[in-house]
């Protein structure tokens, strides 16, 4: 029995020393990681219709243990909870004692999605978006850790305050008029607009009276259209179609127009 007691005593002692060492070294490594972890400057770029916001994570020192299964997920939602973007970055292994290890997390924003369905109001209204960020990692391969936060991100509408500013008509001849329509908007988005806007003038019955197309202004402003119409008094609705490199949107109707 004495041998068994001695063996159990040794086992408990060795196991305790091992656990104590692991506790101290892992706490020390966690401190090193916490002190060395930093976020670089976010950069934006455009790939096709996808806006990419790159957020670099910098590890100054990863300490004495590997970081496995490093995973960053960001979910961007609008005020109604509709998902705008979900991006994930996975790094299987960040080796121990790594200095200046950088992980780049790309947040992808498909602008064409903004022009669809429930999210189209984001083209015209500034609002706050909710960003849920979840960071998961497996420390020393035995301690899974999860850190989550949600932050509010201001959203600037690319076609903020879109309106018909002025409409007038000049007579060119019998049953021939030139309507001058000025539309205006402000681009509050972080990207410049390019592409075209098409304006169709419609009467009350929805018949097309005339149409014109012109280029969009990168940061907004006033865009004049000059469109030949048979009778300006019949103009009731301005119908707009936007074709940009980020999104296509239309029709967008501005009704109750009156020639003064």
């Amino acid at each position: 029995m004495k041998q068994a007691i001695r063996a159990l005593g040794w086992a408990a002692t060795i196991f305790s020393i091992f656990l104590l060492l692991f506790t101290i070294t892992s706490a020390y490594s966690a401190l090193l990681i916490a002190q060395g972890l930093g976020f670089g400057e976010p950069t934006t770029s455009v790939h096709g219709r996808i806006l990419v916001v790159s957020l670099p994570f910098r590890f100054g020192d990863t300490g004495l243990y590997d970081i496995a299964d490093f995973n960053v997920t960001t979910l961007i939602r609008d005020r109604n909870g509709f998902s705008i973007s979900e991006s994930s970055t996975f790094v299987p292994l960040i080796p121990r004692a790594s200095s200046n290890f950088t992980v780049e997390h790309d947040i992808l924003l498909d602008a064409s999605k903004l022009a669809a369905g429930n999210l189209s109001y984001l083209l015209f209204n500034d609002t706050d978006l909710t960003v849920d960020a979840i960071l998961k990692l497996n420390f020393a391969r035995v301690i899974p850790i999860e850190l989550g936060t949600n932050i509010s991100l201001p959203w600037g509408a690319p076609l903020y305050g879109l309106a018909v500013n002025n409409i007038s008509a000049t007579m060119l001849g019998p049953n021939s008029y030139r309507a001058t329509v000025i539309i205006s908007y402000e681009n509050h988005a972080f990207f410049d607009l390019d592409g075209t806007v098409e304006l169709q003038l419609l009467d009350n019955a929805g018949n097309q009276l005339g149409t014109g197309t012109t280029n969009l202004l990168a940061r907004g402003g006033q865009i004049p259209f000059q469109i030949n119409v048979p009778n300006p008094q019949r103009i009731a609705t301005a119908r707009l179609f936007f074709r940009t490199s980020y999104f296509n949107y239309g029709p967008y109707d501005i009704s109750n127009l009156r020639i003064p």
Binding site: M1, L8, A12, V142, I143, I145, L147, T149, I151
Partner: protein, 152 residues
Amino acid sequence: MLPRVAKATVKAVLYLIFLYIIPTLIVSQLSSFAPDLFSTYTDYLAIFAAIVIFFVVASELTAGTIYQYAFNIGRALTLMIFFILALQGGVISQDFEAQGFNFHFAIDLRIYLAMLISIDLLSLARSVLQALNFLSQQVEQQHPTPLPPDDF
């Protein structure tokens, strides 16, 4: 009795330094990083140190009796329950605020908890065997095994 008390006092002071004062300093350093997250654990450290010191002193004062092993068994069982409660069953989850942002933090310490419980189980097994050994020795002293006859 006096040497026992002296030994128990020395042990209590050493345990106080290594199980309470030094860890509290480390945790207070960590608290500057996320005060909400670590402040709870200062209380747990105090409870842990109190449990260990109580049982160590009690075990020392009752050395040479069956109560010494009873206290050792009690310590192993109490620490197992304490670890399970302090580590919330192995998955600690907490909300805290840092640098103006609200964070949700979760850490899965089930493997670590399993290691802690394993050590306590080893200590428990050792204490039970020691108690059995002590009792059997006492019985042997009270009823010594008769020697074989000379002409055997």
